[in-house]
Symmetry: C2
Amino acid sequence: MEQPIRFGIMGCAAIARKLSRAIKLSSNATIVAVGSRSPDKADGFIKDNGLPENTKVHASYESLLDDPDVDAVYVPLPTSLHLQWAVAAAVKGKHILLEKPAALCVADLDQILDACEANNVQFMDGTVWMHHPRAAKMHDLIQDPHLFGQLKMVNSIASFHAKPEFLHDNIRVRPNLDGLGALGDLGWYCIRFILWTADYELPRTAVAFPNPVKNEAGVLLSCGASLHWENGTVATFHCSFLAHRTFQATAVGSKGTLTLSDFVNPLEEKSAGFIFASQSGFKELITGWKPLPSNHVIPTEIPQEACMISEFSRLVGDIRDGGAKPEKKWASISRKNQVVMDAVRDSIDKGFKPVQIVG
Amino acid sequence: MEQPIRFGIMGCAAIARKLSRAIKLSSNATIVAVGSRSPDKADGFIKDNGLPENTKVHASYESLLDDPDVDAVYVPLPTSLHLQWAVAAAVKGKHILLEKPAALCVADLDQILDACEANNVQFMDGTVWMHHPRAAKMHDLIQDPHLFGQLKMVNSIASFHAKPEFLHDNIRVRPNLDGLGALGDLGWYCIRFILWTADYELPRTAVAFPNPVKNEAGVLLSCGASLHWENGTVATFHCSFLAHRTFQATAVGSKGTLTLSDFVNPLEEKSAGFIFASQSGFKELITGWKPLPSNHVIPTEIPQEACMISEFSRLVGDIRDGGAKPEKKWASISRKNQVVMDAVRDSIDKGFKPVQIVG
């Protein structure tokens, strides 16, 4: 690559601090500009995160998008602003790394993806866990017909126990900013894990669990659903701002079981683990299992968010420097994630009735 | 105790081999008789399991129940025979250790429990995992308001991948023998785990997942449900004869998370583990968790089924030798397990509609 991918950061959200560090840790990416309606905030962001002194500050997102030195933007804005600013970025030819949830609904996301396609820009959402080398290793195992077999059931749980003030005021629970609440913030991850285990074959039906918890503004604080495929495979998930920090995921095939307790954010940065069992039986008189499940620990040289930046930047570099076309896999995965999330929300709105999922 | 509790084994089911070993390993219990309609089978059972040569063989269950040297019976018969033989045992004053599922429905179980009460006999069902010292340790943690807080969500999975012939012919999938199929055999455990985490407060509603798998005789091979309490707590479970051996359970409170991968049968006999996390947070920039979850390993001197036999025999000894009344806790827990199982089955029969749970 002739020169690293030059990122502009759109806004100074808390999550942008983490991603700024990730960009610094990625050999093929660099931050060249920060856009914020508050230049003071942008200056502070540059200092606090140790960005180069010559990092440009743009006093508006428009100005950031007009900067010819910016190849790609990282967009950590509230979800309700994704449609406007992701489309604007695409129109300006900027490649887009968009925080999750990608959009408020699939109709919005389709406008974003259409704009990306029309302008030949790379799209990727910020579902970081998929980029850890652990995910590749797990994927190899669960796609193995001898070790894992046919997918039968999946459960994923994503939660953290938010403080009372969060539940009323935080961006993630304000109807005009992140109206999808816990479903958008945490359910997105759960659904992604489920789709990933199913090799992105969409389920046919979603049924939300009754009586999700909402705040006074009607934003979801806790909810869940079951998802059903025609072949009998069942997945369940639960996401909540009201329960202890939990990122538990289990996938069971006809011949194997995968389980991990930290699927969204690894317990430690330098390596991440999971448990895999295959062809487990009992010893005589059920005095134990044989073979025992295996603990796998997968090291990573850079944190998973830097893995994501590197992969995104590699794709952008191929386009910018090599004349390649955008990799559409990431748009397709995001869209399926959104389609399922929409179906769960519809099921909630329709009194927990089954909702057909149409890709 | 003056003399060990003298067990009669009703039938020679495969599971009886495991329990015979457990009785031999329990210092306060002994096997004195085996009842079987096939005396040859009973003789073989006595030899194969190393029971004393003077173990009596009864050629009928009636004769076993008439034996004045028998204090208690272990009943591993198919579920459809539980009502008849558990009631007959109670009427004869025999204490009853009844394999799970306790009965085909709560109306049947109530007849059994009424007979036990009327005849002053101890009742316990064979849900072995609860008797492992691990369960007591886990219970202490999840009942701690500072470490675990309020229960928010639970998931339990119990499955094994049965061979094709099992799915057609095994006792556990024959409508006239164990008509509850996977729900009775494995779902029973899942429901028990859920009730145990909820300190036996019954959920208010059960909603079965759509499209459970049945065999050609209509017996459930795979199914699941969500359970809902008035305070918003949600539990889900899935049980299956079609998926790899999995006994995964997770309970999430407002302040803590409990998870284990072998809740029904420990991976090893001499000790069993679980993972508990409390007040988990992230390090700065989410580079890891702090504190990390703790791995707990709980040793046991005797296997969990021997722990169960010892506890049952202790209660029976208190009645036989000390004039105590039966401990009603075990009947109450079985009944709640059955009530929830009935509700799930009803929800399946009613097209996966919510079913109110009435204790």
